[in-house]
Symmetry: C2
Subunit: 332 residues, 2 copies
DNA sequence: TTGAAAGCGCTAACAC
DNA sequence: GTGTTAGCGCTTTCAA
């Protein structure tokens, strides 16, 4: 089946292609009867405008690039859901890119994004730092960052203040003299972890206390779990904060192996709330970061950027709530 | 910064745009010194070929559309990882589409796909049935289905024989006289569940036994869990098969509420293996469906379809293994 | 209100 | 080995 073009429709309807273009774009300067004529031709031929050609002619593609770390869908899944829902509303397509560790790979990804001439790029990525962004900025892409607080003429961001969340939680524990607080490393999210550490440290400093511990672990679940099993043989904490649910689970399981009961002897709280938090036993207390909203808002901001609407604020902070479940005892 | 085009490069290098086109496409009929000259111009100007224009000229976009159900990333995450890895190798971009229940929405998605002039579409979707596919076929899109067994001139598929998996598991239990087998419904994956039921029923039929139960449940985790809590008050099973890990967790938690111990009094096995299966306690036994491979193979097949390579087989079955963990007792 | 024609950036004959 | 030119399918001035 030969692809039907705007010419075919024009022919069929006995009008010029300019007229067809006008009706498919809903321009009001078309007489009703010719509009109908064209519509019928479109219908009859099953014509669908070629978005590629439109993209060339208009110099915009109504697609945006989304960049997330490879294998991160447990964390980014909800974000993507939010993103796509809003993208649908504004009729944007989403091209999905994932990045691995290598700087080479990242540059290749950026190169591909630039070649694809998307209208903007949304990034959820702890590691895509300012240097890499500059390449994107050279080409004047509107950029929305998810998770990192940052902005300038072409960059906006949507995030949750994890430093504050970490501070709040830690402070609540210090207030009741539960002073042995530890944060478990998350190698995949160095920025988030650095924020958490900063917040906890601030709480300690303000309380004039010491004893905060940062526990470095291997990079995957299996070895983290093994490591923690050993770690808990001679370490005790009142509260352990983790970034992801998987690390909280590793912690709880490792503690359990050492006959440390959660939450009685050691409380565990993680930062990211997934549906598994409520499914596992003990149910995981967590900061509920509004992932879906993070994605939805990011996409909404992007549409504003693209339509040159004024943004009253380019750094949008979303609030979290604390959801205490079974793995911890203190309410905030 | 004005977008630099192939003309600018041609000017800078004092050659025609055809020559520039040749070097960026790596055609061998360019003299070395002019190639170098052009490369330098490209470098100097920071030129990146416009994929949109290439798409128009070549009548292909080297992008493929991926369609998955909305909010399915827990299940499709791994598939997408595999898909993207292979897509990178062959330099294809992936446009992500999600579908919700409504038939209208689905048609809109298909419409958008057609407009976007992707080179092919890969679908993981229990509900996108033959009727909807026909629209795509009208436009001669190569299609690769993940999860469903189906094929014709333009359709290929990659799947795991869930019917057989379900049969195997059920048979193993019937063989040792554990005859009270139940399958928990999964409203989001009616096709998969129907296959599972079929397999279990076949095992029962062959063994000339009765007692297979299909348990219908509400659609979300929370209400499923509540429902199952009630259900287990007056129902006992030797083995419960579920599709997703979340349903297995709901089952285990509900059983536990009724003081039914897993796996001693009731064994639980699910079909899809996620990383959480090994993290929760008891660890979930499961059929390990090779999700990553499903995605990777699907994309590989797609490249073959697009390059007109002959496919010896258009229905590719991947094999599963059974991973017994703590929630069940019998090895297969 | 409609049509003619230039242009968006690139590829691929075809000619030189 | 390199240049010229006609598209690819659409939008958008500018005229009519």
């Amino acid at each position: 089946m030969k692809r039907v073009t705007i010419y075919d429709v024009a022919n069929e309807a006995n009008v010029s292609l300019a007229t067809v273009s006008r009706v498919i774009n809903g321009l009001e300067i078309v007489r009703e009867d010719t509009r109908v004529k064209v519509q019928e031709a479109i219908e009859k031929l099953g014509y669908k405008p070629n978005a590629v050609a439109q993209g060339l002619a208009l110099q915009k593609t109504t697609t945006i690039a989304l960049v997330v770390p490879e294998a991160s869908f447990n964390v980014t899944g909800q974000i993507i859901n939010g993103l796509l829902d809003v993208a649908k509303i504004y009729k944007y397509s989403i091209v999905l890119h994932t990045t691995t560790e290598g700087i080479l790979e990242i540059n290749e990804t950026i190169e591909n994004i630039i070649k694809s001439r998307v209208d903007g790029v949304i990034i959820y990525n702890d590691k895509l730092l300012y240097d890499e962004l500059s390449e994107l900025k050279r080409y004047q892409y509107p950029i929305v960052l998810i998770g990192n607080k940052m902005s300038d003429e072409s960059i906006a961001s949507v995030f949750v203040d994890i430093e504050k969340a970490s501070y709040d939680v830690t402070k609540a524990y210090l207030d009741v003299e539960k002073n042995k607080v530890a944060i478990i490393e998350d190698r995949k999210n160095p920025f988030a972890i650095s924020q958490m550490v900063k917040g906890a440290q601030r709480a300690f400093d303000e309380a004039n206390k010491e004893g905060f511990t940062f526990v470095q672990i291997p990079s995957n679940y299996r070895s983290s779990y093994e490591f923690l099993k050993g770690y808990f043989k001679d370490h005790k904490h009142d509260l352990i904060l983790t970034h992801r649910d998987s690390q909280a689970l590793a912690t709880i399981n490792a503690a359990s192996e050492n006959n440390i009961t959660v939450p009685q002897e050691c409380e565990v709280i993680c930062m990211i709330d997934t549906k598994y938090n409520a499914m596992v036993r003990p149910q995981l207390s967590s900061i509920v970061i509004p992932s879906y909203d993070l994605g939805a808002v990011a996409m909404r901001i992007m549409t504003k950027l693209l339509h040159n609407e004024v943004l009253s604020e380019k750094e949008i902070e979303l609030s979290y709530v604390f959801n205490r479940r079974q793995s911890s005892l203190i309410n905030l």
